[in-house]
Amino acid sequence: MQKIVAENTWKDYSEKKHSKPLPLKGIRVLEVCTLVLGPSGPGCLSRMGAEVIKCEMPPLGDTLRGLVPFGYWFREQCTSFIRPNPNKYWLGLDLHKPEGQELFRELAAKADIIEENQRPGVMERWNVGYRQIKEINPGIIYISKTGFGQWGQYATENRPSNDGAAQAFSGYAWMSSFPGQRPLKSRLYICDSYGALMGEVAVLAALHYRNRTGKGQFIELSQSESIMRTMSWIWPYQYITGKRAMPSGNRDVSICPADTFRCVDDTFLALAAPAPEEFKGLCIAMGKPELADDPRFKDHLTRLQEENATEILRIIAEWVRIKTAEEVEGLAEKHGFTASRLYTIKDVVEDRHFRERRFVTEVDDPLLGQFLDYEFPVMMSKSSPRVSWTIRPVGFDNEYIMAHHLGKNEDEIKALYECGALGKWADVRGRRPSSDWDGKTGLIMARD
């Protein structure tokens, strides 16, 4: 193997990432978002150094704060809330109140990006819609993320939506099942996470355009449309053949062989070997080198045909059934095809490779303590994204934001609390600090 010069580029990356500049330094983002589709987008930007102010309705805040696996709370905080919300500033702001709306507009006047996932028209009713904000800040990039977009039949019917609805509507779940079985929902909030990520492509493209022209704009994102964009062959296939695309379980119908197989110990292994040298290597590993020259399997397009694919997958399944995953992984490395046991979450968290790359990274948070989080998975050699701190109770940074960003004095801040424009957490788990909090730790600016 060639010497990897790239190792010079990445030498010390993991150790030094906190002493490098951040790519989105200086970019200010306001989010009025709940659950996963909304907050995950700004969560990408905040990992890359944008200053994200998360506006939550006091005292309960983001709905996601209450959603935990089988009732499990992590150090009295919400397990699910951590990943989408690193490095943010936490503002408890009631947008129903005119004074709250005014505060938002003051912040918006100095912001670069606004992200929201209320139903269509709600932000406008609060006097903070795109048409109202662009009057005070024409350069604003404003993204609204919903199930169905801002117009069309479903938007007009004001239908609520969420990840599962998009998995259902798009055909994504239907295509992710075994033939003849019930459609299966992904256990990931895939349409939320993916919609949010794709939204950031548009936001950053718009930022580039603004850097060139000074012009802002409004971006409309639909969760269902985002996930439909990922479904590649399915749409042209249906248009060209007039046939309905069919699910195929774990088999990849576009790559052959590529499937999940059962090992001797009833664990599972994914394997792929489509390229000529990979397929040849697999055949050798199976002790059947002659299969590589079999007319049914001689090239990829031939092998992909239904009857041929079924046959080669059957042969491989028989072979894997008497092997362990480790044995097949070793043979794959040796013979140049690809195989991997199915990772559990334990495998991911503890994987040596992920740890050495610090993709799985230690966070030492003043409130939540030490734990492992995932970095934004784009390593950048000169401007490295990273997680510095994590979730906070509702309204935790109110005083800091008011004083630092808007220059409010103590009396003004007091008045904003009194009229209800500002608020803090309810005495409810997931909203309030953990019981061992000393009333000071983590505050950038104390209230008293």
């Binding site: 939506s161 259902a168 509507f169 895939i190 794709m198 950053l204």
Partner: protein, 446 residues
């Protein structure tokens, strides 16, 4: 709804965002040139598509025989000689050929690099370096270059030396989300009896898509940073990390409680009400992650009193495993009484007239992609509008998935045959006329 500028919001925004309006607006990235060298990687193609949709000039560089990914097509089907996955992901790109295994080919690449902003590549770590066209080599030619590598395991770390390639099903396997997605194996049963009650991957190439889209976001952030500093840099995406990174709670659960998350069918371990439910004619998704929405569901199916919904204080009892199993059984008994259409209608009606209106549960039919492609809502919004491609004719690929008021994305063409744009692109960038091209072709360089 209030009018601003003489229109309600929905009309105002539709007038600006409807993809059916003429494509006369500017493009956000039309000042950017991208070299896409990706090989056997849908992630790379998808990444450059994200940029090409916004108007970036993407030069798709393939070896003379074409990219192997073109042969990755369902059931081996070709349409006018093209694989169906590649058919949509060549969109807006100029397709050229270049033999990077030959020194003369690499010299030509350097000429292109000197004129490019971004380079995307997906070779195994070390391959580009071995050809002396890795980041350390190319930054000498163009210090502003953003050099974006997408690979299975990334550019450094113990697994980066692995010879194993980057495939979607392997990404899914290594992210943990295949392991814990799937039907529950009934107690006392075996996989032989229930071969579908196993860890189940997503059908679409979501692993590749996640890594490609993450890289597109990284490239755009690096472009912004370059505008601030003038510096290019190298970017590294490991596909398995990109897909693993979107998991929301299991990693924290494992750290805190030592629990390894297992399959839970179409229920949701981390929230209620949130599941697929069987109906008279199929299945629907039900969502109500706030107590009021779950109460609204109980009310909508006429169980407000019987289930004691008025007395529910919070969702805690429903989120525990036993609670989920017990209540999902009760819910499914109700949903089986109705068709998908009836349930969706009930939810829309409930938002208007129900006891808790406008609060209503989310009810969505579980559609096949065939039904999705016929849904009037999506047809109206333009995502399935056929494209009239100059080479491949009329085709449907998913497009205009997001709508922007100033710089809408667009699909100008869907794909190109191998080397289709050699004449134009080599003339434009390298000054190679027909005679020179002929010679390079004979020398097997392009």
């Amino acid at each position: 709804m209030e009018e601003i500028e003489g229109q309600v919001w929905a009309d105002w925004i539709r007038e600006r965002n409807d993809p059916k309006t003429p494509r006369t607006k500017p493009e956000a990235l039309d000042d950017i040139t991208v070299l896409d060298l990706s090989y056997n990687s849908y992630a790379g193609c998808y990444c450059s598509s994200m940029l090409a949709e916004f108007g970036a000039e993407v030069l798709r560089v393939e070896p003379p025989q074409g990219d192997f990914i073109r042969t990755c097509t369902p059931y081996g089907i070709l349409y006018k000689g093209e694989g169906l996955n590649y058919l949509g992901e060549g969109r807006n790109k100029f397709h050229i050929t270049l033999n990077l295994e030959k020194p003369d080919g690499r010299e030509i690449l350097k000429g292109l690099v000197a004129q490019a902003d971004v380079l995307i590549e997906t070779y195994r770590p070390g391959v580009m370096d071995g050809w002396r066209i890795g980041y350390e080599d190319l930054k000498k030619i163009n210090p502003q270059l953003i050099f974006a590598s997408i690979t299975a395991h990334g550019q450094f770390g113990p697994m980066s030396a692995s010879h194993m390639a980057d495939y979607d099903n392997i990404i899914q396997a290594r992210s943990a989300s295949q392991y814990d997605t799937g039907e529950i194996l009934p107690e006392g049963k075996t996989y032989d009896e229930y071969p579908w009650a196993v860890p189940t991957k997503a059908g679409p190439w979501i692993g590749w898509v996640e890594s490609g889209t993450h890289m597109a976001v990284g490239i755009l952030a690096a472009l912004h940073w370059r505008e601030l500093t003038g510096d290019g840099q190298a970017l590294d995406v490991a596909s398995e990390e990109a897909y693993a990174s979107i998991e929301d709670w299991a990693a924290v659960w494992y750290q805190g409680a030592g629990v390894v998350n297992e399959r839970f069918g179409s229920l949701n371990t981390a929230g209620w009400l949130y599941c697929f439910a069987p109906t008279k004619d199929g299945a629907v998704f039900l969502g109500g992650l706030r107590l009021e929405m779950w109460q609204a569901f109980a009310d909508m199916v006429g169980k407000w009193d019987e289930w004691g919904a008025a007395g529910w204080k919070d969702l805690t009892p429903f989120m525990e495993k036993d609670g989920q199993l017990k209540w999902s059984a009760l819910v499914f008994t109700e949903t089986r009484k109705y068709t998908n259409k009836e349930l969706v209608g009930m939810s829309v009606e409930y938002a208007k007239k129900g006891r808790l209106a406008p609060i209503t549960p989310v009810v969505a039919p579980v559609c096949s992609p065939e039904e999705a492609m016929q849904d009037a809502n999506w047809l109206d919004r333009g995502i399935f509008t056929p494209i009239d491609d100059p080479v491949y004719g009329k085709l449907v690929v998913a497009q205009t998935q997001y709508k922007l008021t100033e710089t809408p994305i667009r699909t100008k063409w869907v794909c190109r045959p191998v080397g289709y744009d050699n004449g134009y692109i080599y003339l434009k960038y390298m000054g190679f006329g027909p005679q020179r091209l002929k010679a390079l072709k004979e020398a097997e360089i392009i």
